[in-house]
């Protein structure tokens, strides 16, 4: 995409097509291990993913059209680091980890913090993203991915919200993660919103109050999908909707 836009003129291009081992989805120690070359369609239709972190399958299912999802890979999607992509906010909200290979071994990096700027990730030359590890959602947690598409089903999000919440035995929100897509240079974790809802008993008032904080956490650009002011407002609306979804039993 970047080279087609003239933003990147690669001297060499290395094909990963024959690294078939990186296409698999496996389960280890209650984590889903997704090969970097697994297609978005594979994840969308994977029973292992559906059973453990179904919201990730849902997020992948919102990417463009089925033709694109048959070709596009999760690893490519992540390292491309377009902030309007759908899987990254959901991966961050689910607490996923990137496994990165290099000549002298492997390292792991939480996906939260992995995206550093527009189209930029915390990787060095000589490194290759090989796997994404997603912990299974616990039985007391719920997750959702909401993508606001006022134009067409295959569009980029005007704004998107990935949310995960865990409700404790008292019915209070024990833990929450809220991550927004298409709302700044990278996926944006809404820490203020999270802090405001943790410990609260879910109610319309509590959720609306917390969601209002997201306006100052996002930093969207104005474009054909809406002005800056509109996107901030939509971040609020969809954050509230996402929180309602994950806190409603």
């Amino acid at each position: 995409v970047l080279s087609r836009l003239g933003l990147l003129r690669p001297v060499h291009v290395v094909s990963l097509r024959r690294l078939t081992a990186l296409r698999d989805v496996a389960v280890h120690d209650d984590s889903v291990c997704i090969g970097a070359l697994a297609t978005l369609r594979t994840i969308e239709t994977s029973t292992a993913v559906r059973a453990r972190c179904g919201a990730l399958a849902d997020a992948c299912a919102t990417v463009a059209s089925v033709r694109i999802r048959e070709q596009g890979t999760l690893g490519g999607n992540v390292v491309h680091a377009d902030p309007a992509q759908d899987p990254p906010p959901m991966l961050i909200a689910l607490g996923a980890t990137a496994v990165i290979a290099r000549a002298d071994g492997r390292r792991e990096s939480p996906l939260d913090g992995f995206f550093t700027d527009w189209f930029t990730v915390a990787m060095e030359p000589g490194e290759l993203l090989v796997e994404l590890r997603v912990p299974a959602l616990t039985s007391d947690a719920r997750a959702t991915y909401l993508k606001f598409l006022p134009r067409t089903a295959d569009d980029y999000a005007t704004v998107s919200v990935a949310a995960v919440a865990r409700i404790d035995g008292e019915g209070r929100i024990a833990d929450a993660r809220v991550v927004l897509g298409a709302a700044g240079a990278t996926p944006i974790r809404a820490h203020a919103v999270e802090r405001a809802v943790v410990g609260a008993t879910p109610s319309d008032g509590a959720i609306d109050e917390a969601a209002a904080l997201v306006r100052d956490e996002v930093d969207p650009i104005g474009d054909d999908r809406g002005s800056v002011a509109y996107k901030r407002e939509m971040a609020r609306v969809w954050t509230a909707r996402a929180l309602r979804t994950v806190t409603t039993r």
């Binding site: 059209s65 606001f148 006022p150 067409t152 089903a153 569009d155 054909d224 809406g226 509109y230 407002e233």
Partner: protein
């Protein structure tokens, strides 16, 4: 979706058609223009302007000419006296002295490969002096505005003397008046005034404009995606000073049109390159360039004022249309240099007195051209929104208001034309019945109506209404129709096949349709103005009639298959089918659209829609369905999302990733109800191509107001605009729905 036809013709026409071009397209063997690449073909790339308006101080091609693979670099200086255009030739083949839009072609490179041509084009050094640019029509007419075409007096106008204009920055204008206007204003009980804005949109043909030119001896062979090959030949001949019979234009399989394929830009400069290099030369327009420097649908600002009596009957109407024509008028084919239906105010209503004026203005942006029903969606959005606002203000049911004013037989429309027959009332009655019967509105939903009509086909006489085909019996006793009409995907060739088979009483498999180049086929004006089925279909029917008579002479009183066998043995049985369609008929239609509005986001979702149209006898039932559904989808796009956004002359949505058009899953179910009052085409067919896209937007705007009480008066009706309107009214929550519109 159901198709209900009141009247069908027995025989071939009741069967769903088998597309003549279907197998080749599905199997990938159909040859589009871009599939032709003769040995030795050179590829072409352009150096384009980065400025919306600038003087060219110098062009240095030295480095580019020395690049590998480069055969020729052409600049404006090489072709400086030459301009192109369909009616007004105001677009230089290559810019010289000045550029007038971002993406204007400054120099052309022909090289062995596209990569070489592109690399060389990148090395052309152009020195510019930026000039003040005009982005708004109002600014173009203001005192002290820069004149974008100081040399406008020297431009060739292809139809006699170019009409006078009030300002040098005006491309064309038109004023119409009829009736006793002053008396009517004085008599009006109420006067309503509203104004509207419509965004620029892109036609959206998936195949870009492609051209291949080579020389055969002294003749230029032009392979083009242009859907009007004979007109292109004449435009090329006039512009370049080459005799028409030295140019052969061939339009092969065309990959979508939607109005954009009647205009050519690159054929001209490619002819020069082919002559100078002696090699075939080819150009395939990059999609982004097609969108930013092609020929978009005109942006418009429209104001309307209407006086009615106490019962809501229209007495008098005034309208002003201002179109943003962009940098060149070249893409428009009409004598008045306005988008075709540019001043079609209040179509379908009786307007006893009116003054309607329209103007198309130069700006430093994308040249306006033809897009499916040029001018009509703009006019319809304004007209049908205006009508709805008046009905609402007078508390008259929207269908009832339209019924009171619908044009009837002998009525006068806003252009002063008398309708000899009108099916507008029947459309309205049907719409009321169908919309009411099918659905009851849930709270939070709203319903909007919009009517429309167009001349069937366009044209008040002359070439547009005349068609000619040649019909022959081949050696194998089959029948061949030879036509100059290229099939741009709408099914023209299948239509001709069915008409001829129906008339002769033979299976469709015995009739083939051959598309000929301009040196082979009979003259034809080209696909456009919804003329193909009524006019060319009429010619095919006339040809079949003549052939039937001829066969009866050759072998009287025997079955047609034996007649054909006899004719084949005889050899050289060929007739010319010529037809002239009557002027002044109309195809009428209307929409009822239900929407749901998300009051927290402003998002509008079309929940349901019904389309009623009088298209006369149906020749290609499957293609008709495609035309109507495709038109609905196009209308939906224009209504809710499509806009070629331009900032400081730069198109910021020049790609289908940002410029979104509805996909299959975005188009809600559409119910189609067809009336079948016979028209003037073959077996009573009427025009159908440019109906379904026109009135979707006003129906949606009207439905939005019905649902949540706010009016959006500009297209597209984005979620943000709806939310802004809701906020402006201080209404954040779903309002209690009052009484549903009585139906």
């Amino acid at each position: 979706m159901t198709i209900e036809a009141d009247r069908v013709v027995a025989g071939t026409l009741v069967e769903p058609e088998y597309r003549i071009d279907g197998r080749a397209k599905v199997t990938g063997t159909a040859r589009y223009t871009a599939d032709n690449r003769p040995e030795g073909t050179l590829e072409v790339a352009y150096a384009r302007s980065p400025h919306p308006h600038a003087r060219i101080l110098s062009v240095d091609t030295t480095e580019a000419e020395a690049m590998p693979g480069v055969h020729r670099v052409l600049t404006g200086a090489d072709v400086r006296s030459l301009h192109l255009g369909r009616m007004l030739q105001d677009w230089p083949l290559l810019a010289w002295e000045r550029v007038r839009l971002v993406g204007d072609r400054v120099a052309a490179v022909a090289a062995e490969t596209l990569a070489q041509a592109t690399a060389a084009a990148d090395r052309i050094e152009v020195e510019y002096e930026e000039l003040p640019a005009i982005f708004e029509p109002a600014a173009a007419l203001a005192g002290g505005a820069p004149i974008l075409h100081p040399e406008h007096d020297t431009y060739r106008y292809l139809r006699g003397r170019r009409p006078d204009r009030r300002h040098a920055n005006v491309q064309g204008e038109r004023v119409h008046e009829h009736g006793d206007i002053e008396a009517a204003w004085a008599a009006a009980a109420h006067v309503f005034e509203h104004s509207f804005d419509v965004a620029r949109t892109y036609q959206g043909h998936l195949e870009p404009h492609v051209t291949l030119v080579w020389m055969e001896g002294e003749r230029f062979h032009v392979c083009s995606t242009n859907k009007s090959p004979f007109r292109l030949r004449s435009q090329l001949s006039t512009s370049l000073g080459i005799a028409a019979d030295s140019i052969v234009v061939e339009a092969g399989v065309i990959g979508g049109d939607f109005g954009g394929k009647g205009f050519s830009i690159d054929e001209y400069v490619l002819i020069v390159l082919a002559r100078e290099t002696g090699r075939p030369v080819r150009f395939s327009t990059p999609y982004a360039d097609d969108m930013r420097a092609g020929n978009c649908r005109h942006r418009a600002t429209i104001s309307m004022r209407t006086g009615v009596d106490t019962e809501g009957r229209i007495l008098v109407h005034a309208a002003s249309f201002v179109y943003d024509g962009g940098a060149y008028a070249a893409a428009k084919g009409n004598a008045d240099l306005m988008p075709g239906g540019g001043v079609t105010s209040l179509v379908g209503y009786d307007v006893p007195a009116a003054r309607v004026e329209g103007m198309c203005v130069y700006t430093n942006s994308i040249p306006g051209g033809h897009a499916r029903a040029p001018g009509q969606p703009q006019a319809s959005f304004a007209s049908e929104s205006h009508i709805d606002l008046i009905a609402r203000a007078m508390a008259i049911d929207p269908i009832e208001f339209r019924l009171r004013n619908a044009i009837r037989d002998g009525g006068t429309d806003s252009r002063g034309s008398r309708w000899r027959e009108s099916t507008m009332v029947e459309v309205l009655e049907t719409l009321r019945r169908e919309a009411g019967a099918a659905r009851s509105l849930r709270p939070g939903r709203g319903r909007g109506f919009a009517l429309g009509a167009r001349a069937s086909p366009a044209g008040r006489g002359g070439e547009a209404l005349q068609g000619t085909v040649a019909v022959s019996v081949l050696r194998d006793a089959s029948v061949e129709v030879l036509t100059g009409v290229s099939d741009q995907g709408a099914g023209a060739h299948t239509m001709m096949q069915r008409v001829v088979a129906e008339r002769l009483g033979v299976p469709v498999t015995m009739v083939t349709v051959r598309h000929g180049a301009t040196d082979d086929a009979p003259f034809d004006l080209g696909v456009g103005g919804s003329r193909t089925t009524p006019v060319i279909g009429g010619a095919a029917l006339a040809g079949a009639e003549l052939l039937a008579r001829r066969l009866e002479e050759i072998a009287p009183d025997v079955p047609v298959l034996r007649q054909l066998a006899r004719a084949a043995a005889l050899g050289d049985v060929r007739v010319i089918g010529a037809f002239e369609h009557v002027a002044g008929l109309h195809s009428t239609y209307g929409y009822a659209v239900d929407v749901e509005v998300d009051v927290e986001t402003g998002q509008v979702r079309v929940a349901d829609a019904v389309f009623v149209a009088d298209v006369g006898t149906v020749i290609n039932p499957v293609a008709l369905r495609g035309q109507i559904l495709g038109g609905f989808a196009a209308g939906l796009g224009q209504a809710l999302m499509e806009e070629l956004t331009v900032h400081d002359g730069v198109v910021t949505s020049a790609g289908l990733g940002d410029y979104k058009m509805p996909t299959a899953v975005d188009v809600p179910p559409l119910r189609i109800v067809l009336l079948s009052n016979p028209g003037g085409g073959p077996f009573g067919a009427r025009s159908a191509g440019e109906l379904a896209n026109v009135s979707v937007a006003p129906a949606i705007a009207n439905a939005v107001e019905d649902a949540v009480g706010v009016r959006v008066d500009s297209l597209p009706i984005t979620a943000e605009k709806v939310l802004d309107a809701l906020r402006a009214r201080g209404r954040h929550r779903q309002p209690d729905r009052g009484q549903d519109v009585a139906l």
